[in-house]
Symmetry: D2
Subunit: 366 residues, 4 copies
Amino acid sequence: MSLNTYGHLFRVTTWGESHGPALGATVDGCPPGVPLNEADLQVWLDRRKPGQNKFTTQRQEADAVEILSGVFEGLTTGTPIQLMIRNTDQRSKDYGDISEKFRPGHADITYWQKYGIRDYRGGGRSSARETASRVAAGGVARQALGALVPSMTITGYMVGMGGKDIDRSRFDWDEIARNPFWTPDAQAAAEWEEYLGALRKSGSSIGATIEVTIRGCPPGLGAPVYGKLDTGLAAAMMSINAVKGVEIGEGMAAARLTGEANADEIAMGPDGPVYASNHAGGILGGISTGQDIVVRFAVKPTSSILTPRKTITKSGEATEIVTKGRHDPCVGIRAVPVAEAMAAAVILDHLLLDRAQTGGTRGKIG
Amino acid sequence: MSLNTYGHLFRVTTWGESHGPALGATVDGCPPGVPLNEADLQVWLDRRKPGQNKFTTQRQEADAVEILSGVFEGLTTGTPIQLMIRNTDQRSKDYGDISEKFRPGHADITYWQKYGIRDYRGGGRSSARETASRVAAGGVARQALGALVPSMTITGYMVGMGGKDIDRSRFDWDEIARNPFWTPDAQAAAEWEEYLGALRKSGSSIGATIEVTIRGCPPGLGAPVYGKLDTGLAAAMMSINAVKGVEIGEGMAAARLTGEANADEIAMGPDGPVYASNHAGGILGGISTGQDIVVRFAVKPTSSILTPRKTITKSGEATEIVTKGRHDPCVGIRAVPVAEAMAAAVILDHLLLDRAQTGGTRGKIG
Amino acid sequence: MSLNTYGHLFRVTTWGESHGPALGATVDGCPPGVPLNEADLQVWLDRRKPGQNKFTTQRQEADAVEILSGVFEGLTTGTPIQLMIRNTDQRSKDYGDISEKFRPGHADITYWQKYGIRDYRGGGRSSARETASRVAAGGVARQALGALVPSMTITGYMVGMGGKDIDRSRFDWDEIARNPFWTPDAQAAAEWEEYLGALRKSGSSIGATIEVTIRGCPPGLGAPVYGKLDTGLAAAMMSINAVKGVEIGEGMAAARLTGEANADEIAMGPDGPVYASNHAGGILGGISTGQDIVVRFAVKPTSSILTPRKTITKSGEATEIVTKGRHDPCVGIRAVPVAEAMAAAVILDHLLLDRAQTGGTRGKIG
Amino acid sequence: MSLNTYGHLFRVTTWGESHGPALGATVDGCPPGVPLNEADLQVWLDRRKPGQNKFTTQRQEADAVEILSGVFEGLTTGTPIQLMIRNTDQRSKDYGDISEKFRPGHADITYWQKYGIRDYRGGGRSSARETASRVAAGGVARQALGALVPSMTITGYMVGMGGKDIDRSRFDWDEIARNPFWTPDAQAAAEWEEYLGALRKSGSSIGATIEVTIRGCPPGLGAPVYGKLDTGLAAAMMSINAVKGVEIGEGMAAARLTGEANADEIAMGPDGPVYASNHAGGILGGISTGQDIVVRFAVKPTSSILTPRKTITKSGEATEIVTKGRHDPCVGIRAVPVAEAMAAAVILDHLLLDRAQTGGTRGKIG
């Protein structure tokens, strides 16, 4: 029962509030002997860092991560790794109004109803700022995966914004790093740039669809019933702020397919089974097939917008609210590195679980 | 780390294979003093039971549940409740072919690759038969919820099949129990009956979309980050066989909405906050709002079909496979009671967690 | 949070009451491919079985274990193993008196105070009968250990009864199986036989001290802080009914030693480090050294005795109670196979954890 | 599976090494609305702080704790509480010798054998310095207990050193705070002062016995089988560095008692059951009775002594070692506040579990 923790053997507990002195992640279960230093993690944090372009919040945070434990002479020791990120730019004065009013579509009201107390400054614990901790922890997972399965890659990218989806015929892996949306479709990037620019000026916000592809994952990760690899990935993505839907492979579209169309036929290749298609998204019966693992999720638009919205105060009076703080017109953009980090943590966790369960036993084919 | 277990405080571990002597669920954490007998559970098992109409597998199983522990003089004692269902109609001879061949789109190949051994009879542990255990355990959860929050209802129903969705303007709660698809739209039921009848005769199969609505859930259930109520529901649904996508409220469609359209405005009603809409699906920041909780998921079509599909044998040779066993043309139908059971377990678990965390402390509004 | 479960990766959940229809254990996390059948388990259950000699309860139970899942063609499949033992000799009429009165020194009163309901027949869930489930589960652990570390042995034996301790100079491993007390000291066995015979006739009971030695355990099992191997062993032994103290190596006597006397000096042997002594009981810093692991615990005398004792009724009235049921004069005897079973489960669990954490990485010496 | 974490609902993960930049505790599951500030915690840390008298290590540490999250305007918010203590006095040069040699009786060799890497500076993670984190976390537990059960007290004290036990007829609660050994027996304190002074000068060390009494604990905490309150306490104490034995109530001496002597007779008092004695140590069947809970444990002497001891180097060569660093002649002294902190965490955890399980349901007596 660990409500702020994810993972079974590679366990990450995030802590910290948007406007507290610091936030971070306690990472337990990283194998010993993995090369790790702060620069290894900073590269991922810099991708998520706010204020990098006009499409993300203008809050300025260095997001400099400190490793406080668990590393000795550049290698992990197998003991807990504490990662800390100091908050530096907390303009608490911006948030005075929301101490008394609940923003529609926000966790303000439910935190209050649950706990009877909430740190309203910048959303407190419910702020997307919490995801910086996850990105740092995901960096540790990536280092461990790099040591255990060097050929594996985990790549997130945006595939839709506001109902405008990418054209998969233009999919270009190299394009992802070139545009502010982490999208593989250069033309979509150009269109979104214009669209989101206008939206930002109007003080509105928009939802988005993100996809993560894991290439080079070995077969055999995952387990029946509740330990399914897709269960773990779905929970991980759904735990990210503002996510409202998660898909594996065909996802919701699987409801429209016949058995003939959906089943991925199998042939024998030089290195093992090869599949004629990947409707399954790389997972069958909760266990990885060795194909690309494909996860997709939708991020709702932030409810922090400039248009007044009807709401109530803590004392139950009707009022309106306008959110004046610095916010993202499309929080989906910053969800890309977060999703990669979550995927890395889940895959590493299942690699360790599989090591325990089977010790590398595998049924041979051919 | 409990790969066949779900829940934190209300914990269900399912066990058993399709063609073993029995299957069941070990239920730990049910509060004491809850009225419980076998008839209370049987009603839910009977809904899921195969062979009830021409649209579900013709396997004949009584699915009679026995309570082996944890109940004394008609009341739960707070100790583990063991539920057992004997398998009675295991025609193992039907499954000879699949001992050597892997069915495309099935867990056959991944179980083999993971464990180096698999009980191929009827799919073994990966069979949808496992879900009978979940339905029994869900019955326990419903009894406990009935004692703790009598006004709560949990209702599953089919909202789409093969791309043909229901018309929400015809939504009728009473219709759900009247048709073999558990759908609230009588006209959709009539159309599906014809459609699925033809599909069944051709030996094909089709996917479906299921929705579960939880009415009367109190606000305050769930917790930040990984203990989110939607994380728990998403994982629960994704852990059901053949599920490929999960949505809360607007789900994947949230990606298309603006902040103005998505945020549910709040007003003050006589009994607390009332919302102008429910895009959030009853959950904000991972915590229930008190509105209806709405979860939706897609079930892929079964890969057990009569059309030959290309595959390989354990020794790696190319071959074809046709599944001759008794199977469901639309496994989504039987997923309805399973999803209700999983939802009941998740909600009860979070009720108990909330009791521990806050002891009923609530922030007052008004 | 699993109050009836032990283990992290090899997880055992026991269920069942003394006088219900059955009891058993749900075993999750056993590696696949381990040879297992009912006879493998029955041998251990037969050791614990009541009614074998005049020093254990005269209740007659076959204690025949059934494997209901998780095994296919004589091998474990990696899925949950359900073990069930039917209760056959439940003379419920013997226990009428204790439905209203609380036995001093018994869980009667605390179960009532906690749950407001209790299955008083034969002690219900608090009965030592629950340990049959543990012995069955321990048998599974032994089979898995036999496959993974064939040279390991786990042996329990009695080292004290009622203050009369064995003479370690007479310690003979082969003697253990020859006497009803599982003691390595033949002379102590003879003395105890006379002593306990008289005690039994008088309707009294007596405590005992049990020791378990694990030989052949590899170094490196366990982990810092709360995952210490000794933490796991201490919790496992303390969870056995009537246990009031647990010791590792020197145990409580370590309080009397100086640093010079206590530290086990190290030399280099042909196969690795060798130690001049074993005050540590085979564990340093929570991690196994490769020496014999030595655990010891005290079992209190059963409070079910023929001498009247003062107590109260449920309605709070003063009364006396005499326990007339069939009981053990020294419950410590039957704790021996239970302790072995618990030790086997803990060691296997830590072997699997170590496999996950280090993958067999080891620091080389020499 | 959380090897550096204890607790089910009140969860503490400690992190940090003796000579790293900082150490601390991530505390998840503290109820909301509990008054908490740094001074509340500092008082307990100051009790454990090294260098306070000649009987504890001369390392000078401020042990100033910072609260980095989970507290807002002086109250806990229900989100994770991060506690950090900076290391300030790390004289790493003192420890050069032990980078190549293994200290007998120390975790040096097992950490190396497990992980293939170890932070040898000051014992790294295996240092008793880790317990500062536990004391800080225990302070949080105490604050929460103070809010939930104001009349409860948790008091640790030394009852034996080197085989010289206190005389219980001189037991004086008020004496505990007056002497450097936290002992309730003033005469024992005087004798130990002389004894330990001589021992310290000779560079030797000695073991000790510590007892913790919890007064005012309500009945009903704990659960059957593995969730026993005594299981939790035993594991908690055994997880403290250098502990080799744990006892509840009569402890190991229970082996010497008859059923007549051991059972605590029950009478009815004005406020509920009263017991004629407390051999049980306040726990029956794993559940608290409402009597004082009494836990005792033995701490071995530190193996860091000035007398040369035989050992080997990493390369397997025979050598001798003398530990020159600053160490405690009796580490048991500093174990007193640590044990109190662990007890507080366990009791709070079980209070929260009980809240979840029974919601305060209780069987009435009288």
